[in-house]
Symmetry: C2
Subunit: 159 residues, 2 copies
Amino acid sequence: MLSTTAEYALRMMIALAEAEGRPLTSEQLSRRTDVSPDYAVKILQQLGRAKFVRAQRGRGGGFRLACDPAKTTLLDLVRVIDPLDRINRCPLGRVEHEGRLCALHASIDRAIEVLHEQLHSYTLADLLEDERGTMCATDEESVQVSIERTGNGAVPRSN
Amino acid sequence: MLSTTAEYALRMMIALAEAEGRPLTSEQLSRRTDVSPDYAVKILQQLGRAKFVRAQRGRGGGFRLACDPAKTTLLDLVRVIDPLDRINRCPLGRVEHEGRLCALHASIDRAIEVLHEQLHSYTLADLLEDERGTMCATDEESVQVSIERTGNGAVPRSN
DNA sequence: GATAAAGGAGATTCATTTATCCGATTTCGC
DNA sequence: GCGAAATCGGATAAATGAATCTCCTTTATC
């Protein structure tokens, strides 16, 4: 329903929020979020143009969060990638629907509206409150551990 | 948010519901719903395989509704085209998320859930109750009229 | 200043969705 | 049975989204 790119963007924003201001290189972000290195850069550039991250070039650089996680909603972030626009005008341009959408488009618009409301109800900070510390944008080490232990029945913990 | 194909499918289902059991040819449906003739056929075939329409081949044939408009929801129809699946398992396959999704995927899943609920709350019959009779899947004649009158400021009525 | 580490951005490839084309098949009416 | 009207369905083309590649610029460190 969300594009895969939007999900990648959310994962990387979570990883950056977890880093609490320390810069992460695109390479680190790529590994932690399972997004290919080249594509991760493209998405980070989009997030940068939208002012949700800041990039520092050169040696020792990387990407840092440029927004308040408690004030940034999933809707804000998803819309950087997917327009998710409400329907304002009749998509078929029918003049008789100029003032008011027909029942079909009104109902689709209402569906988009509730989707907006739902995505708006979560902030980036909300997603960090996972008591297990195993968000789908977690650190490299714990991912390694979980892969190594796959199949032996043990439930790995990240610490 | 919905694919364009899903919207086409909804338009054609409305047109068929308005026809009240009389068969419409793919050509007629195409004109009434502004979907290209060839693509309309493809979508009607998908709706046919899902048993929402029935096709009658040969001279005098066409497509007929094969479901009860009052019992068919927008969700039922949209899902013929767009899977719109809930998230059941961790998309990254992380073993530590097997029993329960992480906060990120739980929140995305919740968004899909409310979208389901919303689309489920409308039936095909609900969309026919447009008092102006100018649904975005209306008959050829009134479309012609509305095009002819474009720009003169008058709001055309279909009767 | 040289070098290495980092991001920037355009071009290209690959996959999927959207749209079109065309020959085959079914069916009605004569 | 023949021809016209209709759907069926495989093949193909065009457009968009996802992913990759390559070269360029910026910057810290020495």
